[in-house]
Amino acid sequence: MNLLPVFKRQLASYLSAPATYLSLAAFLVLSATLGLHTSQLLERSSSDLQGIFEWHPWLYMLLIPALSTQLWAEEHATGFGDFMKTLPVTPAELVLGKFLAAWVMVGVALLLTFPFVMVVNVLGTADNVLIASQYLGSWLLAGNYLSVGCFICALTHQRLAIFLLTLSLLLMASGLSSVLDALEHQAPIWIAESLISLSPYLRFGMIDHGVITLKESLYFLSMIIAFLATTTVILNYKSG
């Protein structure tokens, strides 16, 4: 199995790129300022971090495309991506290794928000189980978005195209809920319901409000697997 070397390599290239630190810093700053400004987290001495996490679906729309442009574009520009095809690595190992590395980077970004947990714990009685479930939910959502980014990366190698396509695809997925509101009175109820169940934004809202359920986690995991499988299929097809 060559999953581990690919994963390590990708993690190393994330850690050696200034763009990674810049996007992580932007994510953290935005997450802190937006969260604190809109939710009055400190004034209300709330027991969870909902005020911060409810911004994450929107902040990920900037962070995820920024991370996913680094997955393939640079290597492709230098011709290294083509060369990798002559090595004994399967496309599945390549996709999964790179995806996991990017997912770990998002995990690092999330872990760096730990001062909030401390603040909430110091200022009042915090529900740490709920906070942990919110973290997990946010990380799963990020994984879901990243798998979409991987999928776009398999289609095109141009940085700007990757960034814009990922951004618009994620916006469309998030905008699904407002479309559904409009559809509510016209469309048959089962169509609206099945569409609602596909929106990652609404799913995340469910986790955000309460304790994470198996159903929601499975939804995110299956979306990740579906997108990564599609990516692998596309890469296999493209090598022809």
Binding site: N2, P5, G79, F80, F83, T86, L87, P88, S239
Partner: protein
């Protein structure tokens, strides 16, 4: 060892490789000669498994590159034409990364990376990022990673291009020593440079196999085979040269006056009689050379004659 049968590749509606077949054994060094755009690189890429052929098969040690890609990849070392480039890795970490992907660990990995780097004289640049190196170094990095795992089949795409002359000599010596252990296929536009080390020459033109013979056989097809080139400080009596038995014609070099090439008729040897004439007339000769035949001309001519 390696068997290529009816390999065909279409890009869009144009065929870039058509019906290409040849076998190769261990300890053979195949020169793949052809003009620019003849299909050398794409053929090597198909053998290496990075491009899928439209039809036909590549069989490496019993493994088909399409159905058993991973096993076939393990037996192949491939040096891409442009060398290897990477946006962030250093030479050392690149070689290490590829050694890991090739399945080496610990001490063995370190010794293999060290050996490949020293064979290609890369030890002094190991810590430099690959993308900052000049093209010649990138090509040597590419060669180093290709021989890292002692492959059964080594595919080299223009290995000597862009290297200093003494480096080219070293690469030739290296290829020659590698031929003792593996099958080497080396593609090049400059056939002359490789004529000494190739045991077999494949000429490719417009994606077709035009000739598959030994290098001396190919040289025999040149009209300069057995020709003699001489340069003199004094005036040469061209008429005396022309009437020598077996002389087919005389070419004067436009760019260096005083230098002529005397062509031999097929099956004739003119070198001794020219030497005798020089001694007889007491010409002041500054250089005298018997030509083995000009491979580049032969390949060019074969490519021109090929149907398009």
């Amino acid at each position: 060892m390696i068997e290529i049968s009816n390999l065909t590749k279409y890009l869009g509606k144009n065929s870039v490789i058509s019906n290409f077949s040849f076998p190769a054994q261990r300890q053979e060094c195949l020169g793949l000669f052809g003009a620019e755009g003849a299909g050398k690189t794409i053929l090597l890429k198909m053998i290496s498994g990075s491009i899928r052929p439209t039809s036909g098969h590549v069989n490496i040690f019993g493994f088909d590159t399409q159905s058993h890609r991973t096993q076939a990849c393990k037996a192949i070392g491939y040096q891409p034409e442009s060398g290897i480039n990477h946006p962030s890795m250093s030479v050392f970490s690149l070689l290490n990364f590829i050694a890991t992907l090739r399945g080496f660990h610990g001490i063995e990995k370190r010794s293999r990376v060290g050996r490949a780097a020293s064979r290609l004289e890369l030890s002094s640049v190991l810590s430099y990022p690959v993308h900052t190196l000049p093209p010649g170094h990138k090509r040597r990095v590419a060669l180093a990673q290709a021989i890292l795992h002692d492959p059964g089949v080594l595919l080299l795409d223009e290995p000597g291009e862009g290297l200093a002359p003494h480096q080219q000599d070293k690469i030739r010596t290296l290829i020659q020593s590698l031929t003792e252990e593996m099958t080497v296929i080396v593609a090049s536009r400059d056939c002359e440079a490789l004529s000494g080390i190739c045991t077999r020459a494949l000429v490719i033109g417009s994606g077709r196999l035009l000739a598959d013979t030994s290098v001396p056989e190919l040289q025999r097809g040149s009209r300069h085979f057995q020709a003699v080139t001489l340069a003199a400080e004094s005036h040469l009596d061209l008429l005396a040269l022309a009437v020598l038995p077996g002389v087919a014609g005389i070419e004067e070099h436009r760019h260096s006056p005083g230098t002529v090439t005397v062509l031999a008729m097929p099956g004739h040897t003119i070198y001794p009689s020219i030497c005798a004439l020089i001694a007889n007339r007491n010409w002041q000769i500054s250089s005298l050379k018997l030509e083995p035949g000009r491979l580049n001309d032969v390949v060019h001519q074969l490519s021109q004659e090929a149907p398009h």
